[in-house]
């Protein structure tokens, strides 16, 4: 359990997944990838059981944004991996982007 601040980065303790917090909630939450708690970027990887996602669509995909059902918490996947992301046991879903015209 820990506080996630906007801008904070975290990585999966087992697979390659890395995320950055875009929006967060004020209370402590449990952020997991493949069921294993994610760790800080300088943390050591562990040999642990890790639940691989059922299908490629549920894996953490680079560049996708993930939100909880209340749309209060948002993560950006900065490196893809094999697990799927969850907060307090609730699977996160891909946020659909509203495309803006290119301005530069």
């Amino acid at each position: 359990m820990r506080l996630l601040k906007a801008g904070t980065r975290a990585k999966c303790a087992v697979c390659d997944t890395e995320v950055m917090v875009v929006r967060s909630v004020p209370n402590e939450v449990l952020l997991t990838c493949g069921g294993v708690e994610m760790i800080s970027m300088d943390g050591a990887k562990v040999e642990a059981a890790h639940v691989a996602a059922d299908s490629p669509a549920q894996m953490a995909l680079v560049g996708k944004r993930y939100v909880n059902s209340a749309d209060a918490l948002e993560l950006l996947c900065t490196k893809g991996g094999k697990g799927s992301l969850a907060i307090d046991g609730e699977s996160l879903s891909v946020k659909q982007a509203k495309p803006l015209p290119s301005s530069d």
């Binding site: 980065r9 950055m20 560049g63 900065t78 015209p101 301005s103």
Partner: protein
């Protein structure tokens, strides 16, 4: 959060994709990442506070932007069109610094103490040799950038059209908030290419690198803009996207017209043109839409202090404005559109009260990308985080934002605020007038009066009385210019902004 995140993600996802094309030089995203890391080592070894970059668009520019983030020092692109004393003064302000530059820009400068030079060719050699050694895939071991979200990433000297240039500070979180808020990661196709013709020292030149990298779009550099060269490069490199300032679009349109125009511009690959950086004359955008009928036009309004774009007028609004007979919709072509989703915008009166639709005042913005900070003054955001843009404007009943010029350019005549823009628009409608700028002139009775500097069309003639009558019939009598001067051309800076300071001075100085 750090700028390099955009590059690391792009290199991770499409290492083999071309990131930068500059003449015959091509760099993939994998090579750009390796080069930026190696370039970061070069900067770090110099033990300096800043990386100054005095260069035209070259492959060294995007490498240096990310390299300075790896070195943890702010990137300071300098305006190579400034005079020698102006450049030397800015170099003094950033010493001790490493200066990336080359001839002919370097030769006339006497470098102040604390400025160490690395020439472009040498910087490219040092950063690219590692890119080759590590292979095109981003194989070099993960070197992390030291900068935290709150650290300064870029320092840009403002254009200083009203006074001494200020050093605007942009932090990693400001720039990355802009990119994350407006660009979808990897949204470009491998065949997409953007033509970068804005100079590297302009905020649009910086956001072009960051946004293109995050979108995975190939950047094609045009070091020195001219209309023929721009069109030629569009065709040769199969350009799909471009960003131009109004002066550039105006020259492109003139070029097409002189080339016997009437037909389309014959750049079949081109899908989108974005423009910004100054006021776009209505006639120019209308002509451009005729020459590029299938192209999506986007007007982007932003400031250095807001990490680039804060409002957008998109392609659909351009088309409906262009085709509509309804004046309410037609005038949208003169609008800068609506705020981007991550930016809040308000119009406020002189007393700070928030104004309603159709009321003119100063534009305030708020959001993560809004830096609103200068090195000398610190943050200029108010207690609630709002930034006063010094731009005057209003929002219509549909939420579209209309700009009316800089707050500093407002003429205060007998206590009444007059925006030069409305008078300029009316005078531009006169058949003899080719270009015009309206500025405040000293007035014994009113404090300030309305002065107009007019450029007449070739062989056209107009008298003071005729132009005064033209304005009087269309606006209130207080808007009628009391003084009119005729000149061959108006003084513009290279980004297409009229140098009003110079014009004001000419009105008060009897020798000119």
């Amino acid at each position: 959060m750090n700028l390099v995140m955009a590059l690391e993600m792009a290199a991770e996802c499409h290492a083999q994709r071309i990131a930068v094309t500059s003449g015959d030089v091509h760099l993939t995203y994998g090579q750009l990442l390796s080069a930026a890391r190696a370039g970061g080592e070069v900067i770090r070894a110099a033990g300096v506070k800043y990386l100054g970059v005095l260069d035209i668009n070259s492959p060294a520019v995007p490498i240096a932007l990310f390299a300075s983030a790896y070195a943890g020092v702010p990137y300071v692109p300098l305006n190579y069109r400034l005079t020698v004393p102006e450049l030397e003064e800015q170099l003094e302000r950033i010493a001790p610094a490493l200066l990336l530059s080359d001839e002919p820009l370097l030769a006339p400068l006497s470098l102040p103490a604390g400025i160490e030079v690395v020439r472009r060719a040498e910087f490219l050699r040092l950063s690219l040799q590692s890119a080759e050694a590590s292979g095109s895939a981003a194989a070099s071991e993960a070197l992390s950038a030291p900068g935290e979200a709150h650290d300064s990433a870029i320092q840009l000297f403002t254009s200083g059209t009203t006074g001494r240039p200020k050093a605007a500070v942009l932090r990693h979180q400001n720039l990355m908030s802009y990119v994350l808020g407006t660009v979808e990661f990897g949204s470009a196709q491998e065949s997409d290419a953007i033509l970068v013709s804005v100079p590297p020292y302009h905020i649009a030149g910086i956001s072009a690198i960051l946004s293109s990298t995050y979108a995975g779009r190939r950047m094609v550099q045009l070091p020195n803009f001219d209309a023929a060269g721009w069109l030629q490069l569009c065709r040769a490199e199969q350009i799909t996207n471009a960003f131009v300032v109004p002066t550039m679009l105006s020259r492109i349109v003139d070029h097409l017209e002189q080339a016997g125009g009437g037909t389309s511009a014959a750049v079949p690959s081109l899908r989108a043109i974005a423009y910004g950086g100054g006021k776009m004359p209505l006639a120019v955008i209308e002509q451009a839409m005729k020459y590029f009928p299938g192209v999506d036009f986007t007007n982007a309004y932003g400031l250095t202090e807001t990490s680039s774009t804060i409002c957008l007028l998109g392609p659909q609004d351009h088309r409906s404005g262009f085709e509509s007979q309804d004046p309410q919709i037609r005038r949208r072509l003169a609008s800068v559109g609506k705020p981007v989703p991550t930016v809040e915008l308000q119009v406020r009166g002189e007393d700070g009260a928030v104004l309603g639709p159709g009321q003119s005042g100063e534009i305030y913005v708020r959001g993560e990308q809004v830096a609103g900070e200068y090195l000398e003054q610190g943050s200029v955001l108010n207690a609630e985080g709002w930034f006063a843009t010094r731009d005057r404007g209003q929002v219509d009943g549909f939420g579209y934002v209309y700009l009316e010029g800089r707050a500093d350019d407002v003429i205060v005549r007998g206590g009444e605020n007059i925006s030069p823009g409305e008078i300029e628009d009316v005078l531009l409608g006169h058949p003899a007038v080719c270009d015009v700028a309206v500025v405040a002139v000293p007035d014994r009775q009113w404090g300030e009066g309305v002065g107009a500097v007019v450029v007449l069309k070739e062989h056209a003639q107009a008298t003071d009385a005729e132009l005064q009558e033209w304005v009087k019939q269309r606006l209130r009598s207080s808007r009628v210019p009391s003084a009119i001067r005729y000149v061959e051309q108006l003084p513009y800076n290279e980004m297409g902004k009229v140098l009003r300071r110079v014009l004001k001075q000419q009105f008060t100085d009897p020798t000119t």
